[in-house]
Symmetry: C2
């Protein structure tokens, strides 16, 4: 009887959001809630319900767009990182590199960076998530640095043999190591030093 | 009555080790057991009992030397890494760098590297352990790379302004990032490429 009642019970109404929010504002609140949940309960503990509650929205709104929590988490990270469609273009190699490395650092120094750190450690054994993170988050950002170098080489600002994936990796690897070793914030003078004392000397024609 | 019996019961004898082992052999078995336990149950799950059982030794033997598990874990890691008292000295900057970076990579490619990865993620919020890891494991190895550069500069093999902590960090940071991104093994041709295509070009006088 109890089971029957359970089956026929009307599902509880989701709490109404305090205001109707659309598009970017709601998306921003959801992504912030993702980072908040990642820090508070980790990836394993993160639930669609928890994110919805934290973002003051309904669970259904989340499921409509993100069928699985991994899609939501990866979208949130991707959104916090520099977009590959928006490569810096100051006409100067140093300025472009510094701009892109600063954008990456700003993400690490934000709640998204802290969430990324939790995530990297927790999902290390989750191969399917690690692959998603690699394809959607890491690879496109690596590619951005390589694209900067290739463009610099085409303009004669970069020694052509230096426009390689390995050299492109140097700046982000140093910033990431510093972040993992000492935590946030990675100071701006460190980023400047990485560009001026390491990356630029490798690129000069 | 049962409780009374429990309180007065003779503690169970520890299983006898299959053979009497002394010094290095026993130490090696203990450190191997530490890495094994770190991979199997993580740092939080690792116990002196578990390590003793896995190494076929008594818990008392462990406690005599390592009062706390953090001391044991840090000693095990330190032992698996290149020793600061044994800086490579081939008389050639490239050979020295490649030697040291290969030793570091060999550790990452071993069970100790896998254990280190678990450890880094799990102890991220344990400030006291993170500090111990920093002081006893990370800093002395960073220092080794800097010492190599300083010696190279003194010999005229390295541009003096390149013998800095930041430049010293480049090789290890790239190998570490590769390890964290793609897991073990980090291939030797990657290590060679880091030395020849990135670090050496930064050092040339």
């Amino acid at each position: 009887m109890a089971a029957e009642a359970e089956r026929t019970a009307v599902p509880p109404a989701y709490p109404c959001p305090p205001t109707r929010r659309r598009g970017e504002t709601l998306e921003r609140a959801i992504f912030d809630a993702v980072f908040d949940q990642l820090q508070a309960v980790g990836y394993v503990g993160l639930t669609m319900e928890g994110v919805a509650a934290r973002a003051h929205t309904g669970k259904a709104a989340l499921y409509r767009r993100w069928p699985r929590k991994e899609d939501l988490v990866v979208d949130a990270l991707e959104h916090a990182l520099p977009s590959p469609s928006n490569l810096p273009d100051h006409g100067d190699m140093r300025d472009d590199l510094l701009d892109l490395l600063r954008r990456m650092t700003a993400m690490l120094n934000s709640p998204a960076g802290c969430a990324l750190q939790c995530l990297m450690s927790e999902t290390e054994r989750d191969e399917s998530f690690a692959r998603l993170l690699h394809e959607r988050v890491k690879e496109p950002r690596k590619r951005m640095f390589l694209d900067l170098l290739a463009r610099g080489a085409a303009r004669g600002q970069v020694r052509p043999t230096a426009a390689t994936p390995l050299v492109a990796e140097v700046g982000p690897a140093l910033v990431m190591q510093r972040f993992l070793a000492d935590g946030a914030p990675v100071p701006d003078d460190y980023v400047v030093s990485v560009v001026d004392d390491v990356v630029m000397p490798l690129l000069r024609p």
